[in-house]
């Protein structure tokens, strides 16, 4: 194995490989930054290029560059115009956009870039070193364990939402219910579709994201008007200082661990990782009340976690031939077209090429920082546009992005509907994040729970107690964790309130 690792180093250190990675990173960042254009869509358009070049050490690193760039690129519209392009950048909106409103968009973008690149680098090294030992663990996570983790995540998200727990729970349940609309995954019978073919497939994530996060922001901006004195969005702000990055290193490392753990398990994905990274950062902070109001550490927590997922998703793909999501399914195709068959024999039959690709992936992070750093001034300048221009452009992006995602006119209606819900929720001081996460996780929970029931058959008590101890343990631990976290959050809220009152007095 060591020989193929060394041979891989040899293979990876090629100028053309790095030129192609750079191209992939740049394309990925642009696509990620375009709302509605998801990383998997971008990659599927670019797959033919990767197989036409006919060299696995160019074609696949190119696609991996697109993947990395895309997940980071999604944070750009999230920070600048409160428009998460994909589920991965939901948690980035909270503090990222608050920083932009304070005129610190450049700081936020740079934090996002460095957090992404550092965590990507560390998780790639983890992938490279641990690919063989970790592969054995992956199969231990079946639908029952994933269902239990989903359940735990939902509870954590509800109790840690901003505002009272009851409001978080209401929004969470609403989101879960919205996820029920459409054909039920087991019998394909329509639910809440009112006999229309549009709702048969349920709601799509992109219009919900843009509707709930971006439209209320636009509405607010219009309501405030273009006051000459308060043209907050007229400057880009300072650069990120080294001590600020140092302060967030703990958060970045923590989120890297979370993201890596989630990435290894097929079927969890970036949205959960980012949310958990953010919540963990907030929970372990000495001043959690500043989160959501423009806290650099919040951006770091979310962005480090979602990029840390990227590398480890390759573990089940390369060692077992099992793609966990659309992106890894595309990579599976790309590997096969280069004559490499992901699966148990890949590392023994073409270990040098695989390690070459993995090493190129690790080194790509250096380019990642460089390219990202060069492009930030261009992106950041977006918000220097006058508000009277920025608002129409943002509205256009919201609608075009929604339509672009799958070319369905009905999604525009969905966008407007969820926009109204978002505006109402903001007026009533409800946090929309639990609703979105409820929507994303509720569907998954339903599906994996249904699979669990099918697996368990009639004797589910025996199933839960003898075959799936892990699942049972997580489910039993969930109320305890929820209660403890909820108390902690309540304490912080109380303290923050006292402090505010103290300031007034």
């Amino acid at each position: 194995m060591i020989e193929s690792l060394l041979a891989g180093v040899d293979l990876a250190l090629r100028v053309d490989t790095f030129i192609w990675i750079s191209g992939g990173l740049l394309l990925g960042m642009l696509m990620g930054a375009l709302p509605g254009f998801t990383t998997s869509m971008g990659m599927s358009v670019l797959v033919p290029i990767s197989f036409l070049v006919g060299d696995p050490l160019i074609g696949i690193p190119f696609l991996i560059g697109v993947y990395k760039g895309g997940i980071y690129g999604g944070s750009v519209p999230a920070i600048l115009i409160s428009m998460p392009g994909t589920g991965a950048s939901i948690a980035t909106v909270f503090d990222g956009h608050a920083l932009t409103k304070k005129g610190k968009s450049r700081k936020a973008l740079e934090m996002s870039l460095f957090a992404s690149a550092i965590s990507d680098f560390l998780s790639d090294i983890f992938t490279l070193v641990m690919i063989i030992p970790v592969a054995a663990i992956v199969l231990g996570f079946g639908p029952p364990e994933i269902a239990a983790v989903m359940f735990l995540s939902l509870v954590i998200i509800a109790v840690t939402a901003t505002g009272p727990v009851i409001k978080g729970l209401i929004m969470l349940c609403l989101g879960v219910w919205v996820g029920f609309v459409g054909a039920d995954p087991f019998s394909a019978m329509a639910r809440y579709s009112f006999g229309t073919s549009e709702l048969y497939d349920g709601f799509h994530l992109i219009p919900i994201l843009i509707g709930l996060f971006a439209l209320p922001e636009i509405f607010n901006a219009v309501k405030e008007g273009d006051m000459p004195g308060s043209s907050v969005a007229s400057f880009v702000g300072e650069r990120l200082r080294l001590d600020e990055l140092k302060n967030s290193l703990r958060t970045i490392f923590r989120s890297t661990l979370i993201g890596t753990g989630i990435g290894v398990i097929p079927g969890l994905g970036q949205p959960i990782a980012a949310m958990m990274g953010y919540i963990a950062a907030k929970n372990s902070s000495k001043h959690p009340e500043t989160y959501g109001k423009g806290e650099l550490d919040g951006v770091a927590g979310a962005e480090a976690a979602n990029n840390a997922v990227n590398g480890p998703t390759l573990v089940p793909l390369l060692t077992l031939g099992i793609p966990g999501d659309a992106v890894t399914a595309l990579l599976l195709g790309a590997f096969m077209m280069q004559g490499l068959r992901p699966g148990p024999t890949l590392l023994t039959s073409s270990g040098d090429i695989v390690f070459g690709i993995l090493i190129a992936m690790v080194l790509a992070n250096v380019l990642f920082v460089a390219i990202g750093y060069v492009t930030i001034p261009f992106f950041a300048r977006v918000v220097t546009i006058k508000k009277s221009l920025l608002i129409p452009v943002t509205i256009m992006l919201a609608f075009a992005g929604t339509y672009l995602a799958r070319g369905n006119p009905f999604d525009i209606v969905t966008l407007i509907g969820f926009g109204l819900i978002g505006i109402a929720a903001r007026q009533a001081k409800f946090d929309v994040a639990p609703m979105v996460m409820g929507f994303i996780l509720g569907r998954e929970l339903e599906y994996t729970f249904g699979q669990t029931l099918a697996l368990a058959g009639d004797n589910w008590i025996r199933f839960a107690l003898t075959e799936r101890i892990g699942m049972t343990a997580v489910v039993l631990a969930t109320p305890v964790i929820g209660l403890l976290l909820g108390r902690r959050m309540a304490y912080f809220r109380k303290r923050a309130l006292e402090r505010e009152n103290g300031d007034v007095l």
Binding site: S40, M41, M43, S44, V47, P48, F51, L52, L139, G140, G142, P143, A183, P185, F186, S187, A188, S197, Y200, D201, P266, G267, P316, L320, G321, I322, P323, G324, A326, V327, A329, L330, L332, G333, M336, M337, Q338, G339, R341, P342, G343, P344, T345, L346, R406, G407, N408, Y447, G450, Q451, A454, L455, G457
Partner: protein, 334 residues
């Protein structure tokens, strides 16, 4: 200076671009009616999600097909509603040869009987341009599992009806349908566990969560080599793997367990345009690069001309209708 002259000059100057534009426009229109089809890019609707094996197959053949058509073929992903959304869009498209659809036989020949679909009838609304290729499903178990042969599995399933676990890739899809055909032909009952796609269904088998599954040979080549997976039977009348019985040998219908990938056009497409398309796909078969790319994907290139495939379409569709009618009542119980 004469005012009218300068006015005239100005008018002409202003009119020139408009005139030019009009001329070019008419020129384009004229060329449109006179030119050879196709004179603009062709849209290929694919009702699959990005990244699946069907998406990849489409990206391979569209890449090489353009040189035979003289125009690019652009893929438009329209996923959703188990493929019905894209299929619906294709059936409603103008039959001018500029909108085609890439589908599989389940979406083309079976789904209209299952989801209470009143919107279209693929057999009436679409006509086959070419069958790109086909795949034969294999019944797979873990090498270190209980079953050495299909007979072992069948005996166990008979002894414990509804207890033997089977992982499939989704309702009415490539793994689900053959399993239903097996249950019907051999009077067996498996416990069907759904997964999102063939990859997770295979993972469930490898993890030991289910007793058996199915897969297309390309996706398990590495596992067979590493001896982690054993194949118990493969679809068709003939044996495709040494020492492994075919579906017909174990008592299944000869058409069970096949996936066909087909390009179709809205019916009503002019005959000459349909001929152009069919010829392009026929010519594509001689392209070495296309053949090599498909081999890399582990896919065959068993091409069949659309005219020939039409008869198969109707025959298979009737078989599927039988199957759906026979088992529709039992589905709720699983």
């Amino acid at each position: 200076m004469k005012a009218w002259a300068s006015k005239l000059a100005a008018t002409i100057k202003a009119a020139c671009p408009a005139l030019l534009f009009t001329l070019v426009w008419f020129g384009l229109l004229a060329s449109d009616s006179a030119a050879q089809y196709p004179d603009k890019p062709i849209t290929l609707i694919t009702p699959f999600a990005a990244g699946g094996s069907s998406d990849l197959t489409a990206r391979v053949f569209t890449t090489y097909l353009s040189q035979y058509l003289g125009q690019p073929m652009l893929i438009k992903l329209v996923p959703g509603q188990a493929g019905q959304k894209g299929t619906l869009e294709a059936t409603q498209a103008t039959p001018d040869g500029y909108t085609l659809i890439f589908n599989d036989n389940f979406r083309d020949q079976l789904h209209q009987y299952t989801f209470l679909n009143d919107y279209y009838d693929t057999l009436e609304d679409l006509v086959a341009v070419a069958r790109i290729n086909y795949g034969q499903i294999a019944i797979i178990v873990r090498s270190d599992g209980l079953y050495q042969t299909w007979a072992d599995l069948e005996a166990d399933a008979r002894a414990r009806p509804g207890q033997v676990l089977f992982s499939h890739s989704g309702l009415w899809a490539a793994l689900f349908v053959p399993a239903q055909q097996i249950m019907r032909a051999l009077d067996l009952r498996f416990r069907m566990v759904p997964y999102r796609g063939g990859g997770p269904a295979k993972a469930a088998l490898m993890a030991g969560d289910v007793s058996f599954s199915m897969a297309f040979p390309a996706t398990i080549a590495a596992d067979i080599e590493a001896n982690t997976v054993r194949v118990l039977a493969t679809a068709g009348t003939e044996r495709t793997l040494e020492g492994v019985p075919s579906f017909v040998e174990i008592g299944l219908p000869p058409n069970a367990g096949y996936i066909h990938r087909i390009v179709l056009a809205p019916r009503g497409i002019p005959e000459d345009r349909l001929a152009v398309l069919r010829n392009a796909f026929a010519d594509l078969q001689a392209n070495e690069d296309y053949q090599a790319a498909m081999r890399q994907l582990g896919e065959n290139t068993a091409y069949l001309d659309g005219a020939e495939y039409e008869a198969d379409r109707i025959e298979h569709s009737l078989e599927f209708r039988d199957l759906v009618e026979a088992i529709a009542g039992t589905l709720r119980l699983q």
